[in-house]
């Protein structure tokens, strides 16, 4: 399932919703990305995420479908926020559930790597000098995504 929303989410509540009453899940991996106070050498004071409504959901659904094709997942959830976020707030959540831990780990990493290079989101960082900077793409994200080709 794919959810794109402005509101905060609660990783623990999503974990509980997903595993409640299930006895066929052996392994659950969650990845939560949070707004960090430091990036590429500058003090971040807040983050604003812009996205491409419509295309975002489609891309995330393609990424989920690709993960489900590659690994045996009993559950798969992607939540990505947009809008303004304060330090420490959650940005993105990926949960993968499987009978075995190998599949859950690999799928969660894959989802994050592809999401980072394919989902149409853009980060605008406000820093302590009062500037607003569009975050640059990272070479390391592209290298990470190449692992899955």
């Amino acid at each position: 399932m794919v959810i794109v929303q402005r509101e905060k989410f609660d990783t623990g509540a999503e974990f509980n919703r997903l595993t409640e009453g299930r006895t066929d899940i052996g392994a659950v991996v969650t990845f939560t990305g949070l707004v960090r106070d430091f990036n590429d050498g500058s003090n971040v004071t807040s983050l604003t995420l812009e996205h491409y409504p419509g295309m975002t959901e489609k891309e995330l659904e393609k990424i989920e479908a690709a993960a489900r094709e590659r690994w045996a997942l009993t559950e798969c959830l992607i939540i990505h926020r947009f809008g303004k976020m304060d330090l420490g707030e959650p940005i993105v959540l990926v949960i993968t559930a499987s009978a075995h831990r190998g599949d859950a780990f690999a799928a969660a990493e894959f989802l994050m790597d592809w999401l980072k290079t394919k989902a149409p989101f853009w980060k605008l960082e406000a820093n302590s000098e009062g500037e607003n900077d569009w975050v640059k793409e990272r070479e390391s994200d592209h290298d990470a995504a190449k692992r899955w080709q």
Binding site: E50, M55, H80, T117, P120, W122, L124, W134, R138
Partner: protein, 83 residues
């Protein structure tokens, strides 16, 4: 045809979208880009280095010069930085 701009393209241009009617000689993506550039120095500037621009036609990534066909929506944006 609707043209969308995101992130620094949007902030540099000061617009997030526009509706355009293409002249008859504009039938491919690269022709569209050339035509957009020809209208205004701000567009000339943002399309200066196409290696830093990503394109989606009708919400699907496009990486080469393809015919626009019946495309309703063309979006220009920088490499993505979400997650």
């Amino acid at each position: 045809m609707k043209i969308l701009y995101f992130a620094w393209l949007r902030s540099k241009l000061g617009i997030s979208e526009e509706d355009v009617t293409l002249p008859g000689h504009v039938t491919t993506l690269y022709q569209l880009i050339d035509w957009l550039k020809s209208r205004n120095p701000a567009f000339e500037e943002i399309f200066q280095d196409l290696s830093v621009i990503r394109v989606a036609i009708d919400q699907e990534y496009v990486t080469e010069d393809i015919p626009l066909g019946n495309a309703r929506e063309v979006a220009f944006f920088p490499p993505v930085t979400g997650g």
